[in-house]
């Protein structure tokens, strides 16, 4: 799943995902505060030399649409779509920032995050809380920066001065600082009074998640009809308008749109379902109370509980009764499936997502040995044949349990391999070796040599442990149940022999048994008696999966 980032962590985007079409979601919120989340496209000197690359609510996309503002969705206060390969060459850095609109300081914020989603999957998450900040009013959350390749850095650096300080930091000119600041000041101004507690133009962002459990937020926020806030769903069109066309956006109820309002915009209310169970079916609440207003949301008007409330489609059969908004990705079959498109790179082994591997057999020319039955699809001419282990191989395999049922895949074409939704990890060997348990091998280049290795030790059922050692030049695909952890080998690295998947073969494995007197005298001993200890020079690693076979 998502890789967790701490402040200061950096990684190549290509290590996180093969895709270049990324969704960046920022969740930041604090009771009573509103945030402006923006993205600065900076040049090589870290200057905002072109103000068209300052993406914020008033400028929702860059000219060539490589960075687009999508609005609040899926629990994120604000979200962006970043298409890395369309970013022009003069932009070297995208900095994602959050600024408090109005008074307040960053120490007030609740748990938030910046996350990167690619191909429908969250690949990176940088979580932060208010305790990491103090009086700052602006914070740079994370950067995409170009250093040979695009990389991601979790920054988490605050600025006392707010948006203007941030702009000055990026070399923004006063000319563009003015309108930006003005608009922010203006936004709350024209908001109608009942809305004061809700964020000005962006409406939806800050409200949902944070207020959920926080008792301070609810009361003012949804005591008033919430309908005025524009629905968050069709992100672009809504956000294109808000602050520029002041009277239109936040003022009246947009006629066709109110449907989304009742349910989602007030998730803070949900906890109240519990405390008032008695009111549920039909206790007299004034029937005119709109769905979301009273603490007993279902309570009023038993005879026609839903029908008479505007939110829930009064006229049966009219398709508008339910929000018919299109998903963020767009309408239609092709758009819905776009996140799952095949990613083609020039490489021989290409992970398509965490669970699928594509091999281009035409590239490199060597056949691939894969676990039998792991093919899910192929294009082109691919031939599958049984790969026997040979006579000695069978004997050894039977005796050690390190047996692989393999098939040889030859031909010219693209082969897609997967098994039981296990996570797949291609490991490229360049003359070095790796030890993998046989059941964790999915596929490998035939150019690799492999043999069964024995680890001796007392206390193992069966007397010894066996693994497969792979050596040579080529790629091996290892599968793990769940997201594995890769640990560097230190003087004190231990692993459960059932959970360890692979280790670099240069590290030495010792068995460590926890010897405890009268171990069995306790019915509930820890169950962790035999561990493998790893020793080796720095640079060695072990891979452990969250699943004990």
């Amino acid at each position: 799943m998502a890789r967790e980032f701490q402040r200061g962590h950096k990684a190549k985007i290509s290590d996180l995902t093969a895709g270049t079409d990324l969704y960046v979601g920022v969740q930041i919120s604090a009771p009573g505060l509103t945030f402006d989340i923006s993205c600065f496209g900076l040049d090589a000197e870290e200057r905002l030399s072109d103000d068209r690359y300052f993406v914020f609510f008033n400028q929702p996309k860059t000219p060539e649409e490589s960075v687009q503002l999508l609005g609040a969705q899926s629990g994120d206060t604000e979200s962006f779509r970043v298409t890395l390969d369309r970013i022009p060459a003069n932009i070297h850095k995208l900095s994602f920032t959050a600024t408090i609109d109005g008074a307040g300081q960053m120490s007030q914020i609740g748990p938030g995050h910046l996350r990167i989603v690619a191909g429908g999957e969250e690949v990176a998450r940088y979580a932060f809380t208010g305790s990491e900040f103090s009086t700052e009013r602006a914070v740079m959350l994370g950067d995409f920066y170009l250093k040979d390749v695009w990389r991601f850095a979790a920054v988490g650096q605050g600025f006392d001065g707010g948006l203007d300080a941030l702009l000055r930091n990026f070399g923004g000119e006063v000319a563009e600082e003015e309108p930006a600041v003005q608009q922010q000041a203006a936004a709350p101004g024209f908001a109608p009074p009942p809305q004061a507690a809700t964020p000005p133009a962006f409406g939806a962002p800050a409200a949902p998640a944070p207020a959920f459990g926080a008792p301070q937020a609810p009361a003012p926020a949804f005591g008033a009809p919430q309908a005025p806030t524009p629905p968050p769903a069709p992100a672009q069109p809504v956000h294109a308008t808000p602050t520029m066309v002041a009277p239109v956006a936040p003022a009246p109820v947009p006629p066709p749109a109110p449907a989304p309002a009742p349910y989602g915009q007030q998730p803070p209310q949900q906890p109240q379902y519990g405390p008032v169970p008695g009111q549920y079916p039909g206790q007299g609440q004034p029937p005119q109370a709109p769905y979301g207003q009273a603490p007993a949301p279902y309570g009023q008007a038993a005879p026609a509980p839903y029908g008479q409330q505007p939110p829930y489609g009064q006229q049966p059969g009219v398709p508008q009764g339910v929000p018919q908004g299109v998903p963020a990705t767009g309408a239609g079959l092709a758009a819905a499936l776009a996140p799952y498109k095949e990613t083609a790179t020039g490489a021989r082994w290409t992970p398509q997502n965490q669970q699928l591997m594509r091999v281009d057999l035409a590239m490199g020319g060597t056949p691939v040995l894969a676990r039998q039955g792991s093919m899910v699809m192929y294009q082109g001419k691919v031939d599958f044949s049984h790969k026997g282990a040979g006579f000695t191989g069978r004997i050894v395999g039977n005796a050690t349990g390190q047996e692989m049922q393999l098939m040889r895949c030859t031909g010219r074409g693209q082969l897609f391999l997967a098994e039981e939704g296990a996570h797949l990890h291609p490991i490229e060997l360049q003359g070095d070796g790796i030890c993998v348990s046989a059941e964790s091998v999915l596929a490998f280049d035939e150019s690799l040599q492999y043999e069964v290795r024995r680890i001796e030790g007392h206390g193992i059922p069966g007397g010894a442990l066996f693994t497969m050692q792979f050596q040579g030049t080529g790629t091996i695909v290892v599968k793990t149940h769940g997201v594995p952890v890769v640990l560097p080998v230190t003087p004190t690295t231990f692993a459960d022999c059932n959970a360890v998947v692979a280790w670099s073969s240069a590290s030495q494995v010792i068995l460590s048994s926890q010897v405890r007197l009268r171990r069995n005298a306790y019915p509930g001993h820890s169950g962790e008696t035999v561990n493998l200890q790893f020793r080796g020079a720095p640079g060695n690693f072990i891979v452990v999966q969250p699943y004990e076979v």
Partner: protein, 226 residues
């Protein structure tokens, strides 16, 4: 306590069908807009929703699917929010705009009742597993939700002259415009216990897409339990 769980609260309703997380489907129901869903896939609902298993309308259409006990489909109607899931499988929401898609019976989770649909048995393909391969062809303008064990992948057919071959157990959906046929890759050696494990594939040719899941687990969990 709620603080930690707050992140899982439902997001604002923006569309008829949405993902809640990767593996749950959220459907905004309104009367007059019925939904067909796999029997047993409901995990929770909010509001007033009724379920009718094996509805007469579906029985007609899904005659072929019915292997004696009726089609594994229920009709959901009412007002509120409906949450569906299939044992932790990933959910893919598709908004059809006058498109059509053919979905493997076990990978279909829900679809709008007003869509045109029909059940077909894929010709020439009797799966050895026994139940045969059924697919549901859905066309029109509306919402469909599929399940996939693991993140699926979508491949364009018709990129070259070559056909695309798919393991029937991993197949999720495809464009009905594609030509389908079965392909046996038996060899004489397979008969003496030396198979490659890949004896049988479906070959697709033409212009369109194929959706494949990264798992050969095509067990119909909803049905087994039901």
């Amino acid at each position: 306590m709620n603080q930690q769980l707050a992140g899982y609260a439902p997001t604002p309703v923006a569309a008829r069908m949405e993902n809640h997380g990767r593996t749950m489907l959220k459907v905004a129901m309104a009367s007059g807009q019925d939904l067909y869903a796999r029997t047993g896939s409901m995990v929770s609902y909010e509001g007033y929703i009724t379920y009718e298993p094996n509805p007469p309308a579906a029985r007609q259409v899904a005659q072929q699917w019915a292997t004696g006990e009726g089609a594994p489909i229920m009709k959901c109607s009412g007002d509120g929010l409906l949450y569906l899931a299939d044992y932790g499988a990933d959910v893919v929401v598709i908004n059809l705009q006058n498109d059509s898609i053919s979905v493997n019976g076990t990978n279909l989770l829900a679809f709008d009742a007003h869509l045109q649909w029909g059940v077909e048995r894929v010709k020439g393909l009797a799966k050895f597993a026994g139940q045969g391969l059924f697919n549901v062809e859905i066309a029109g303008t509306g919402w469909v939700a599929l399940t996939s064990r693991g993140t699926p992948i979508v491949v364009d057919c018709g990129r070259g002259d070559d056909e695309t071959y798919v393991d029937p157990d991993a197949l999720v959906a495809w464009s009905p415009a594609l030509k389908v046929k079965g392909k046996r890759s038996f060899k004489a050696s397979s008969l003496i216990g030396r198979g490659s494990g890949e004896a049988f594939q479906m070959a697709f040719s033409g212009q369109g897409i194929v959706v494949v899941q990264p798992s050969e687990d095509s067990t119909d969990r909803l049905r087994i339990r039901g």
